[in-house]
Amino acid sequence: MDASAPSSETGGREPLPSPSTPNGGAPSPPGSRLAWLRYLALVPALIPLGVIFAIVYTISWASHLTSLPGFFSFNWAPTTNWGIGVFVVGSFMTAVPALFFSMVIGLGLAVASTTYLPRLISSLLDPFVDLLAGIPSVIYGIWGFVVIGPYFGLTLNPWLSAHLQLIPWFHATRTAPINSLGLGLPLAIFVLTLMSLPITTLLIRDSLRAVPKDLWESGLALGATRWEVLRRVAFPYSRRGIMSAAFLGFGRAFGETVAVAMLIGSTAQIPPSFYGTGYTLAAAMFELIDSAYTSAQWLSVLTEMALVLLVISLVVNIAGRRLVISLSTTEVAGV
């Protein structure tokens, strides 16, 4: 049995017979007056897909690709050179480390609740992880700004800078000092880790639960410890699920808007050091929209940025969903 096969519950049900066809389920003959009714049923089902197409169409239509020369450069100098490179790099610089942390923590959490903890305790603790997905991103933003930011700015960043000063990029310099509000990459990464944690944990947990009991028991019976069964049997078995968790967690971290806009410091530059401020695609699209109300050129450029973000997030999401074809059976807020 393959973990990626659609579960028997959601797949393989034949559709209900159509009421317009007395011969039960067989397609109506082409001449039948009611044949078109069958296609009407498609309409509500395809609304989400239609919205996706509407997004692709609208955004492609509204971006005139006027800013192409220099569009992918690293020089953001509005109205002369629209180089969105700084935003793309900023997005990757925040999303990739956040994904790394949330995968490591998510693996640990999934292992704890599927393998080590008694069922009762894990069923009490798991909802907290799921709850992280339900908390609005403005609340992450305001909490990060007021509570976590000062700690990062006054304690953690100076400490890291003092202890990691041999590594070039991790050493704060006079040109790129640590700001005392703590705004910048580390804060954004921290909050993005928390925000992408629920989806990675949920998907890894589900794929570990899908490992057949036989495999577990034969591993234990051969004398392996639980950790060894995990390492050698369960992880390889559920690697597709784990990879899809990585893709979808990345998509979540990459597209996050409001919390990042509040925390990254909103400076159109590549962070000069690890503690510097920067910008991400989504945050820039959100904060700079005011300029687009009056200027057609701004609108066009921002829409082109939306197109870049859309392409990246669609690719990541399609890849992630293809890895796990069947949807997880647990529906969780924001996942």
């Binding site: 959601t10 049900r13 559709p15 017979p17 159509s18 498609l42 089902a45 395809l46 609304i47 989400p48 897909l49 919205v51 996706i52 509407a54 997004i55 609208t58 955004i59 509204a62 923590i105 640990g108 959490l109 292992v111 080590y116 305790i121 603790l125 909802p127 907290f128 992880v129 709850l131 992280l132 339900g134 908390i135 609005p136 403005v138 609340i139 933003g141 305001i142 909490w143 700004f145 928390l194 944690l197 639980r226 998509g251 597209g255 808007t257 409001v258 509040m262 989504a282 959100f286 929209i289 939306a306 859309l310 997030s313 999401n317 969903r321 949807l327 059976t329 529906e331 807020a333 924001g334």
Partner: protein, 303 residues
């Protein structure tokens, strides 16, 4: 000094029964250590939530008066009645749209469509869930505000938000109908129910609790959404009197006020954040309670 009593394994030649080699001890110790360390990671999830709730409540609760929530005076710096009411209207309209589309779509996908079309529909819903909210905001801005010419008004925000919420209702409706046992469906059809009778009289009552959790989840997500609403609605000081008036919701209050640095405005942002947190956590608890009861009911029903 008496020699300690030799353990059984030491009496056996070559430690045949109990392996006490350093390597085995390490393996067992490592396993046990992971058993202690991995559960500690739950602190990473639990502490931020507790800290958030504690910090925001400690800051807001002493300043919170009934008047702040219920006041209907124009939204300025001291009252949240207007944003709260507007949020309720907005979520009401978006939820109605999302339920209309999502419920119908989910049922059709689970029960009527052939597998090929159904999987296309599910892919669409999954992709829409994964689409960043800012992108949906841009769709709303480009399509409703500019192309249809509605302007930065309540209706633009509500329809944009309903796009965001629809796939959640869709997926739970699909999942709920798909997981109704085959036997029940066959019994209904076999005893002469038409497909529509089966869906309305048999399927819907069974699937209802699960669909309800989907609707509440969609509401919780919609209430917490900021970016699409900031893009599609102009902020106002009054409750909108028509679909085409500007409107302000709780999340916009937080977003607009928190960076100002003025203590009064920051406090207002925190009060709004507190209300938002209470509503969202409340909805999440309701979802948990319903799904727990629903699990029990299912167990009683099918075993």
């Amino acid at each position: 000094m008496a020699a300690p009593v030799a353990s059984i394994s030491e009496q056996l030649p070559g430690d045949v029964l109990i392996d006490r080699s350093p390597r085995t001890r390490f393996r067992l110790g490592f396993d046990r250590a992971m058993g202690w360390l991995t559960p500690l990671l739950f602190l990473v999830a639990i502490l931020p939530i507790l800290d958030m709730v504690y910090y925001i409540s400690a800051k807001v609760v002493p300043t919170l008066t009934w008047n702040i929530i219920t006041s209907t005076s124009p939204y300025q710096t001291d009252a949240l009645g207007v944003p709260l009411t507007t949020t309720a209207y907005l979520i009401g309209l978006s939820t109605a749209l999302a339920v209309a589309f999502g419920l119908l779509g989910g049922i059709v996908t689970a029960e009527l469509l052939p597998e090929r079309w159904a999987s296309a529909a599910r892919t669409g819903a999954n992709l829409l869930v994964g689409t960043p909210s800012i992108i949906i905001g841009y769709l709303g801005y480009l399509a409703f505000v500019l192309y249809f010419g509605w302007g930065l008004v309540f209706l633009s925000g509500a329809v944009t938000l309903s796009f965001f919420m629809t796939p959640y209702v869709f997926r739970t409706a699909d999942l709920a109908f798909s997981s109704i046992p085959r036997t029940i469906r066959e019994a209904a059809l076999g005893s002469g129910a038409s497909p529509s009778q089966y869906i309305v009289r048999v399927g819907l009552p069974i699937a209802f609790p699960q669909i309800l959790t989907g609707v509440f989840l969609a509401m919780a997500i919609g209430i917490g959404e900021t970016a699409p609403l900031v893009l599609t609605m102009e902020s106002a000081v009054l409750v909108p009197h028509s679909l085409f008036s500007p409107a302000i919701v709780l999340t916009e209050v937080i977003w607009e006020n928190f960076q100002s640095g003025t203590p009064v405005l920051v406090l207002l942002a925190f009060q709004a954040a507190f209300l938002l947190l209470v509503i969202v956590l409340g909805l999440n608890v309701i979802v948990r309670v319903i799904s727990a009861r629903y699990q029990k009911r299912l167990e009683g029903l099918y075993q």
